[in-house]
């Protein structure tokens, strides 16, 4: 085999190996994952689900199915939806700092939380993510 043919064979072999490696590892890193929308129903004086696992950039939409106004209030008012009237919704984009625990300022016994995926232990993620 000539040197030229040998280089060609080696090059084809490398291309095959690269293709196999690509298929095994999945696509190349193409940036952060697309934001996800999460829905929380407010009904019968409960947030459902009470815990949302969301990453920064994800949006969360709370919709009030009660005929009473409610609020979504984080951090003693640092983030506050204001009145969410019956039938209305409020959307919040999770900031880089993440979420935390929240409540309805009118009915403080109504509580929920937004948990960043990286704040969970592996065991908690196993239970939280189907």
């Amino acid at each position: 085999m000539s040197a030229r043919r040998l280089r060609g064979a080696l090059s084809r072999g490398a291309a095959v190996l690269a293709a196999v490696a690509f298929a095994a590892c999945g696509p190349m890193d193409d940036g952060p994952p697309a934001p996800v929308r999460h829905d929380v129903a407010i009904g019968s004086f409960r947030f459902e689900p009470a815990e949302v696992i969301a990453a920064p950039g994800d949006s969360i939409v709370w919709t009030n199915h009660d005929f009473f106004p409610h609020t979504v209030t984080f951090g003693n008012g640092a983030v506050d939806s204001g009145n969410i009237e019956p039938g209305a919704s409020w959307t919040w984009v999770v900031p880089a700092a993440g979420g935390g625990e929240y409540l309805c300022s009118f009915h403080p016994m109504m509580t929920g939380s937004v948990v960043g995926p990286t704040t969970l232990t592996l065991e908690e993620r196993h239970h939280a993510i189907p």
Binding site: S44, F45, R46, D66, F67, F106, H107, M109
Partner: protein, 180 residues
């Protein structure tokens, strides 16, 4: 229906409801217009008492609670008024409503004699007992005796609100007691 009531809740329930209801075996049979009247009266009474609290309560959380009572119980009565209009029903006065009204007048007179922290404690104790009594009345009398499906659904949708108000009132009453 009242055998489950205990402590302060029993005392308030007795003052509010038992004079007209008697024992569980003698619970009155109420028509749907009478049940609607009891529900509207119970809501109106709590709004009146809360309006008193917004002007006399010293603690800011107690005042906020009172504002919530005004907002929520007004919402219930607006919903009840719409339903009554839709059904062509006129709420009908009855012995239970009259007993509620009489009990409320006495309770509100007692509250008017108080100010500041003493008012806060008495108001929250009243709200704990009142919401417990209303919750038991919903479960033991009003919801079971309602025939009309839409009125029954309204009462059932109000139940979580009353339970939430009770839990909130108990929380505030316990906090005030701990601070004394």
């Amino acid at each position: 229906m009242f055998t489950r009531l205990t402590g302060a809740a029993l005392t308030v329930a007795a003052a509010l409801l038992l004079p007209s209801l008697g024992s569980a075996q003698e619970a009155p049979e109420l028509s749907d217009p009478e049940i609607a009247h009891v529900a509207v009266t119970a809501n109106a009474i709590d709004v009146e008492t809360a309006e008193l609290a917004t002007s006399r309560a010293a603690d800011h959380e107690v005042r906020a609670f009172a504002q919530t009572m005004i907002r929520d119980h007004t919402a219930v009565n607006e919903r009840a008024a719409k339903l009554a209009a839709k059904l062509g029903v006129t709420p009908s006065d009855n012995a239970v409503s009259q007993s509620l009204r009489t009990g409320a007048q006495t309770a509100q007179a007692d509250l008017r004699a108080l100010e500041g922290a003493a008012f806060d404690v008495a108001y929250m104790a009243r709200e704990v007992g009142y919401h417990q009594a209303v919750l038991d009345a919903l479960d033991g009398l009003l919801i079971p005796q309602t025939d009309n499906a839409e009125l029954k659904a309204l009462l059932e949708s109000v139940r979580p609100a009353i339970a939430m108000h009770l839990e909130h009132a108990e929380h505030l009453a316990a906090r005030l007691a701990a601070e004394r």
